[in-house]
Amino acid sequence: MRPGGEETPALLLQGVGRRFGALAAVSDVSLAVARGERRAVLGPNGAGKTTLFNLICGDFPPTAGRVLLFGEDITALRPHHRARRGVGRTYQTSLLFNGLSVRDNLLVALRGARPGRFSWRLPPTADRAAAQLLAERVRIAALLDTPVAALSHGQRRQLEVGMALACEPRLLMLDEPAAGLSPVERPELVALLRSLPRDLTLIVIEHDMDIALPIADLVTVMKDGQVVVEGPPDRIESDPMVQAIYLGHGRSH
């Protein structure tokens, strides 16, 4: 608790906007995600959800507004500095290191936010053990030596999550983690998300309400680059605006 009585939120966006030429992909988004909160972000295709993640992780700077991480203004920081401050994420389209094995992907992810990135010593046993553990958590331990290029879509998604966890982020952002997963893999993903440490702050973009709503404390709905509704899952599910969006555009994923 800080002197003001309010605890600093894990993530605070103040009037954040991003234009691509004439297109306002994100405009005037303000939101606060509390420490340890699970937030789901919903919205139709092109609503600006992924762009919002890109702004938070620093792929490009916002054209308006400020991004604060645990009270620190990170708006001008480059991505690697944000990662070292605890921002971790996955990508809607898996961004893996295709020339490397699953193990090496995890080893790279493990070192990123820690010292020893330039180390000329073979990865220590601790790193290898951590990679093994992560692979078990996302259920790809049998594939550690497999080249990533040979993984199935579902396995790539699992590794995607494993790599984000490897950084031990304080704020974890998952971009449609369930997209393309099989009916068997989906409950596994939900179980994994439920098993995350309680002090981790989690933001999940997810079209599948069966996955998003059970784990979420709060839901933010975006449309045309703006936040249109925010509230607890039970209210969101019955919100006429949300129903219109999802019925109108179809749940295309």
């Binding site: 991505p79 961004l95 295709n98 992810a109 936010a113 080249p147 790599m163 393309g180």
Partner: protein, 350 residues
């Protein structure tokens, strides 16, 4: 590299080293020094390019210039060089200085080109190479201009002159073997893994906490060190160094070696260097000297057309044809390039 390739890499490398170590006992001295020895010293320079291209995805055309930086530094410092520029610095000190100079030049090239990729990287590294070449050619005080610096004979090793065929050959072979092992070791370390990650997906690397530009510059520094070692040996081999050593022709030769040998593994640089050296030495005998370059060009074009990934690629295809494996080829630079070629924020397709 697939685990399948990795399993064979060590025994195959050791066997190759044994063959190269024993070969001079069976072949004429000319072959030892002017074919194998020469191929090895230029192969080291080519390997610095192969290292950058294979593991980082950076094709640098400045590697021969960086090699020459070390060569010139040694030539300027050592006693007995003609003309004597600084002179008087023993080889034991001059050689480390040369390596340091090449590493620094590698870092500088990496720094200058850090924002470029693909054809632009090619252009900027080529300009740096040509720029230094022209500067050296015009500068008399430090580099003796067009004529260069002669009589850089190399250190005595165990009391034997460096000019001795075997002293030269085994020093070159040992250096090459060490640097080759260094590369294969380095790519297993966090530094080397992150370099390969950078090749496959720079955006993800940054998002994981790596300072991608810094990492890239460091890789150019390592490549500079390797090129420098090659450059010093090239200087001893030629008993001196002149602007021609680092000119456009020499730069292209290094590129040709790397490419015909095949990117994908450091051994490709040496395979390419041997093929190149054989042709460079004997093509003139087989064919009208004036048209020699045409013949060399045609042969290399044929190799690259028949197998865009060089001799290594040919070998890989042969192996796969003889022993087909179900999971197919996952190694090779082309695969990873193609898979990471998408635009950065391609968030809409999944």
């Amino acid at each position: 590299m697939t685990p399948g390739t990795a399993r064979w890499a060590l025994p195959a490398s050791l066997a190759l080293l044994a063959v190269l170590a024993l070969l001079p006992l069976a072949i004429p001295a000319f072959w030892t020094a002017n074919i194998l020895g020469r191929a090895i010293v230029y192969g080291i320079v080519a390997m610095s390019l192969t290292f950058l291209a294979t593991y980082g995805g950076f094709v640098s055309l400045a590697q021969m210039m960086i090699a020459g930086t070390a060569g010139y530094a040694v030539a300027i410092l050592v006693p007995g060089a003609v003309p004597s520029i600084l002179g008087g610095v023993p080889y034991a000190l001059a050689i480390p200085t040369g390596l340091l100079a090449a590493t620094a030049m590698g870092l500088l090239v990496g720094l200058i080109s850090v924002r470029t990729q693909g054809i632009y990287l090619l252009m900027i590294t080529l300009s740096l190479g040509v720029g230094v070449h022209l500067f050296v050619q015009a500068n008399i005080a430090w580099f003796n201009g067009y004529e260069g610096i002669r009589n850089v004979v190399g250190p005595e090793i165990l009391g034997l002159p460096f000019r001795d065929t075997f002293v030269f050959y085994y020093t070159a072979l040992a250096t090459a073997a060490l640097l080759y092992a260094l590369v294969l070791y380095l790519v297993r370390t966090p530094f080397g893994l992150a370099l390969q990650a950078l090749r496959d997906n720079p955006r993800r690397v940054s998002a994981l906490g790596y300072d991608a530009p810094l990492h890239r510059i460091a890789a150019f520094g390592v490549a500079g060190f390797i090129a420098g070692a090659g450059g010093i040996l090239v200087t001893f081999y030629n008993i001196g160094i002149s602007p021609g050593t680092i000119g456009l022709g020499a730069t292209v030769n290094i590129l040709v070696m790397s490419v015909i040998g095949g990117l994908g593994h450091p051994v490709g640089a040496f395979i390419g260097a041997v093929i190149f050296t054989l042709f460079d030495t004997f093509a003139a005998d087989l064919y009208d000297r004036d048209r020699f370059n045409t013949l060399v060009g045609v042969v290399f074009l044929a190799i690259v057309l028949a197998s865009p990934d060089g001799v290594l690629g040919m070998a890989r295809r042969l192996r796969d044809a003889l022993a087909p494996r179900p999971q197919g080829r996952a190694d090779g630079i082309a695969t990873s390039r193609a898979a990471s070629a998408g635009p950065p924020a391609s968030g809409n397709g999944a």
